[in-house]
Amino acid sequence: MSNSPATHDIEQALKQYVAREILDGKDIGLDADTPLLEWGVINSLEIARLLGFVREQFGVVVPLESVTAEHFKDLRALTGLVASLKG
């Protein structure tokens, strides 16, 4: 699943969102394994905005109880979550 074209698109869209909206275009060498939480790239409020983006972009609702470290630790994990919710 990790290499399917659909998954790749999700990851790219999420990456662009984080780079544009959260990092304000700053280049920190963001990739699928960048530890978003450990580095404090996304904070508690930005997760709320990110969930809004996911809802609009992919048409899926991330249940708030799934906002865990496991799913948000990096773009790869987040992509997996979105892909599984898209079914």
């Binding site: 580095w39 609702v61 708030l64 109880e65 865990t68």
Partner: protein, 448 residues
Amino acid sequence: MSNVDFDVGIIGGGPAGSATASYLARAGLKCVVFERELFPRPHVGESLVPAATRVFKEIGFLDTLENAGFPKKYGAAWTSADRAPVYAMQFEGLAADCHVDIRFEEREQAGVDRNYTFHVDRAKFDLMLLQHAHQLGAEVYEGVRVRGVDLSDPTQPTVHFKLGQQDIRTRVRMVIDASGRHTLLGNQLKLKVLDPVFNQYALHTWFEGYDRDRLAHGRGQPEYIFIHFLPLTNTWVWQIPISESVTSIGVVTQKSNFAKSRLDREQFFWECLQSRPELYEGLRAARQVMPLKEEGDYSYAMREICGDGFALVGDAARFVDPIFSSGVSIALNSGRLISHDILAAAERGDFRRDSFRTFETLMRRGTRNWYNFINLYYRLNVLFTAFVQDPRHRIDVLKLLQGDMYDEDEPAVLTEMRRIVTEVERNDQHIWHKYLGSLTSSAFSSVL
């Protein structure tokens, strides 16, 4: 009527007392308002919510208010500077503020025909409202301190007060306690229960020349109320426009935070503000135009809010926390609800407790919903922010922010917020787990 001096004796001439007097006097009841101060006098609680509009309309006060030139309030905005330290260090220069806001016009509200409410200088506003009650026919005694109420014959309560050296008694058919945080009847009848959970504390003052536009970052909302979160637990700042040039600023925190700091009030106030440099600098550049005032011993409820021959309204009945600017609206609406029951009671000539059942049910429900909303908010701020930004919940949250909380036992949005909070409490892997406020979940069982 022949054996009493007035139909209704109202203790206190703030918004709750004046609204009650207005409703009753315009319906033809003979009422008297005892106000201990000489108006105008300063008072905290300067921002209204739209649910107040209905009362202003019903008592014919809205035009007066519109013409008074108070700043219009179209909405509310919340800001925070919440950054993980690593992030702040590695990526300096990024915008520090997170910001959410809401406009009242996003939701239609029954009985409310305009998309704004007001911020008010309470000295001026309370005087206007009391004068309005007087014009409608209520007798108003200012500078009169009520000493107590004799309820031994509940069909004919007697209000005791002093005029000069003289002890005066006034016989009424019913007493309304609108004495605010003095809680005159609540103290006398030992009805008061201090809230074991909320122990908030506020320091506030006015500034002249504070640049509200600057903090609004060109979003064009200088006349919104702003709630600025501070990094200290359960601590926030209100920013309320009082006039073109004057802004009310208040720091609300847990009393224990203040005690632990071992600072004096002035130092503590400024130290709190320092955690938000933009706000701090803006205020330092402005001129503080009055000494700091404090509000302590914050939250309480009453075991009973009505009984044979009496009822409690506004802050005299309950006080929780000012986070959603609910105080004046609750005061006015409690006046609206009790007046409705009093007019029916007067018709029947029966002022016993049963006559006030509708008031009691609706007030209990409304204040319980407020209480739960405030608790959930303090327990997990970010959840509130997430709900405001989520189109599925935004309008339901706005309904609460507008002050519409009397028509449902528990709004579904509160149930949903609580469900998620419970989940976050249970799961320490949840990203929001570390953001849980220090209020424990027992806070959810309201005092009464």
